[in-house]
C-alpha cells in the first residue's frame, strides 16, 4: 500500500483514464446500443439483419482482437490517431453489442399483453415502442445496463496492452519498481476497481429489489 500512497499522482492518472474510458464509452455506446436494439425488433428486414450481424460478430470477437484492429491494423490503412481514441473506438464497438442485448432482453421482458393492448387501440410501431413498451422496459433494463457498465469498467484494463495507461498499468509499473511490495500493490489496485464496481453493483441490487415487486 505504501507504494501506492507514495505514487498517488500516478494512481490518479490511471484512475482518471479508467473513469474517462468508462464514461465516454457509456455515453457513445449506450445510444448505439439502444438504436441497435430498436433495429432488431423493427419491421424493416434489412435493419434487423444489420443489427443482428453487428451484435453477433461483436459479441463473438475477443476484445483483445478488436484492440488489435484499432491499434495495429487501422494505422497500416492510413488512419493514424491517438491510442486513447483507438481504445475508445474498440470499447465502444464491443460494448455497444452488449448494451443492445441488455436493452433487447428488457424489451422482451415486457409482457406481451402490453404490446397487444396498445396495438389493439390502434397505436403504430413507433407509438407502441415509444409510449408503451420502452418506458416499461426501462425499469427492467436498467439493472442489466449497469451490469454492462461494470463489465466495461473492468474491460478498460485491456487497453493496457495497447499503450493506454489505465489502473492495471499502475499495478504493473509499481510492482516492477517496488518488487517487494507487489502483493500489496495488486491488492490496492484491485480495491481501486472495487471502488468503482461495488457501488454500481449495490445500485443494481437496490434497483432490482425496488422494482421486482411491481410486476
Amino acid at each position: 500500500m505504501q507504494a501506492i500512497f507514495e505514487n498517488l499522482p500516478l494512481w490518479w492518472q490511471g484512475m482518471g483514464m479508467t473513469l474517462l474510458l468508462t464514461g465516454v464509452v457509456t455515453l457513445i455506446g449506450l445510444p448505439i446500443g439502444i438504436l441497435l436494439a430498436g433495429m432488431r425488433v423493427s419491421p424493416v428486414a434489412a435493419l434487423r439483419v444489420v443489427a443482428a450481424v453487428w451484435t453477433e460478430v461483436a459479441r463473438n470477437t475477443p476484445l483483445t482482437l478488436v484492440f488489435f484492429f484499432t491499434a495495429f491494423v487501422l494505422p497500416k490503412l492510413g488512419f493514424i490517431f491517438d491510442f486513447t481514441l483507438g481504445a475508445i473506438l474498440a470499447l465502444t464497438y464491443y460494448t455497444s453489442a452488449f448494451f443492445a442485448e441488455a436493452v433487447r432482453s428488457g424489451i422482451n421482458s415486457v409482457p406481451l399483453g402490453q404490446a397487444e393492448a396498445s396495438r389493439s387501440i390502434g397505436l403504430g410501431f413507433g407509438q407502441t415502442m415509444g409510449l408503451v413498451v420502452l418506458p416499461q422496459a426501462f425499469r427492467s433494463v436498467l439493472p442489466p445496463l449497469i451490469n454492462v457498465i461494470i463489465a466495461l469498467t473492468k474491460n478498460t484494463s485491456v487497453a493496457m496492452g495497447f499503450f493506454v495507461f489505465v489502473l492495471t498499468s499502475v499495478a504493473q509499473r509499481l510492482s516492477n519498481v517496488y518488487g517487494d511490495q507487489a502483493l500489496q500493490v495488486f491488492i490496492g489496485i484491485a480495491f481501486s476497481y472495487l471502488l468503482i464496481t461495488v457501488p454500481l453493483g449495490q445500485l443494481v441490487d437496490h434497483l432490482e429489489r425496488k422494482w421486482s415487486v411491481q410486476r
Partner: protein
C-alpha cells in the same frame, strides 16, 4: 415478445414501403462496404503479396505457427474450463454452507474475485507467484470464472422449490449430501446454458494472454506479422481477418451448442407410464425454475447475471 405483435401484418402498401426501405438500406450498406473495401484496396489489402504468407505451410504448422497458437489457446481454455467448473461447484457449496464462518468469508472472496479485471489477476499471478505466463492465464481464468460459475450455481439452487432441500433433509441426508445429490444436479441442469455461455467468454478471455505474453494465437499472429513485415509488405490486415475468422468459427459454433443445450434444458422431461398404464408427463419439481429460464435467449440473458456474459476481464 415476437416482433410480429409490434406491427401489423403488412398490407400491400406497407410491404412495398418496407421492401423499398429494405432495398434502400441494403444499397446503403453495400455502398458503405464497397467504400470500405475501396479504402482497403487503396491500402493494398487485396494485393497478392498481402496474403501470400498464408499459402506457406510454416505460417500454419511451424513450432510457433498459427496452429501451435490455436493449440495453446484451446488447451488453456480446456484446462481452465474444467478447473472453473470444479471450483465453481466448490464455491457454490461453500457459499451455501451452514456455518456463517464459512459462508461470509466465501461471499467476500467471491465478490472480490468478480469485482476485479481478470487481466489484473493474470498479472498478479504472473508477478507474485512467478508462475510463467501460460499458467498465470490458466489460473486467473479458473479463479475468475470459477467465482462466476459458483454464483450461477448458487442462483440455480436458490431458484429451486424449497421442498427439494427440505425433503432431502427429511429423509435423513446430511446437509452436504442434500446439496450434492439433490440441489446441485438440478441447479446444474437449470444453469447449463449460463455456464456454457460463460465458457465461451472464457475462451475469448484466453486472448488476454496476448498482453501477459502467453503464446496463444493472437500473440503468435502478432509475431508473425512483425517477422514478415521486416521482409516488406504489411500483413497486419490480412492476419486480422484470418484471426477474426478463426475466432468467429470457434465461438459461433459454441454459441450454437449453447442454444441447443438451452432448448433441451427447457423441454420438460417425459415420465414413464402410471401404475394403471396411462401415460403421464412427469413434471419435475424444478420445472417451475426451468420454465422461468425457458423462452429466454441464454446468450442475451447473460447480462442479467452480474459478472457473467462479458469478456476481457469483464463481468
Amino acid at each position: 415478445m415476437s416482433g410480429s405483435v409490434l406491427f401489423d401484418a403488412p398490407g400491400p402498401n406497407a410491404i412495398r414501403r418496407s421492401r423499398i426501405l429494405s432495398i434502400v438500406f441494403a444499397i446503403a450498406t453495400v455502398v458503405l462496404l464497397a467504400l470500405a473495401a475501396y479504402q482497403l484496396w487503396l491500402g493494398g489489402a487485396f494485393y497478392q503479396d498481402r496474403w501470400d504468407i498464408f499459402g506457406q505451410p510454416e505460417v500454419w504448422f511451424a513450432a510457433r505457427g498459427l496452429m501451435a497458437g490455436l493449440g495453446t489457446t484451446l488447451s488453456i481454455a480446456g484446462i481452465a474450463a474444467v478447473g472453473a467448473i470444479i471450483l465453481g461447484v466448490l464455491f457454490s457449496i461453500l457459499r451455501n454452507a451452514y456455518s456463517r464462518w464459512v459462508r461470509i468469508p466465501t461471499t467476500i472472496v467471491l465478490e472480490f474475485f468478480r469485482g476485479m479485471p481478470v487481466l489484473l489477476m493474470m498479472l498478479f499471478i504472473l508477478i507474485v507467484f512467478a508462475s510463467g505466463s501460460y499458467w498465470s492465464v490458466v489460473w486467473a481464468l479458473i479463479v475468475y470464472n470459477g467465482a462466476i460459475i459458483g454464483e450461477a450455481l448458487r442462483a440455480g439452487m436458490k431458484s429451486l422449490p424449497k421442498g427439494q432441500r427440505e425433503s432431502g433433509l427429511a429423509i435423513g441426508l446430511t446437509p452436504l449430501r442434500t446439496t450434492l445429490e439433490i440441489e446441485l444436479p438440478q441447479a446444474f441442469r437449470i444453469m447449463l446454458p449460463i455456464i456454457l455461455a460463460q465458457l465461451i467468454v472464457l475462451l475469448k478471455d484466453t486472448s488476454l494472454g496476448y498482453i501477459v505474453g502467453s503464446p496463444e494465437i493472437l500473440r503468435i499472429g502478432r509475431q508473425l506479422v512483425e517477422f514478415y513485415d521486416r521482409q516488406g509488405g504489411p500483413y497486419a490486415l490480412s492476419m486480422f481477418f484470418v484471426l477474426l475468422a478463426i475466432y468467429l468459427a470457434l465461438n459461433l459454433s459454441l454459441s450454437a451448442i449453447v442454444r441447443w443445450a438451452h432448448k433441451r434444458v427447457s423441454r420438460p422431461r417425459r415420465g414413464g407410464p402410471n401404475i394403471d398404464g396411462t401415460k403421464t408427463e412427469a413434471i419435475p419439481l424444478s420445472t417451475q425454475a426451468m420454465r422461468q429460464q425457458a423462452g429466454r435467449d441464454p446468450m442475451a440473458d447473460t447480462t442479467r447475471y452480474p459478472g457473467a456474459g462479458m469478456d476481457g476481464g469483464g463481468g
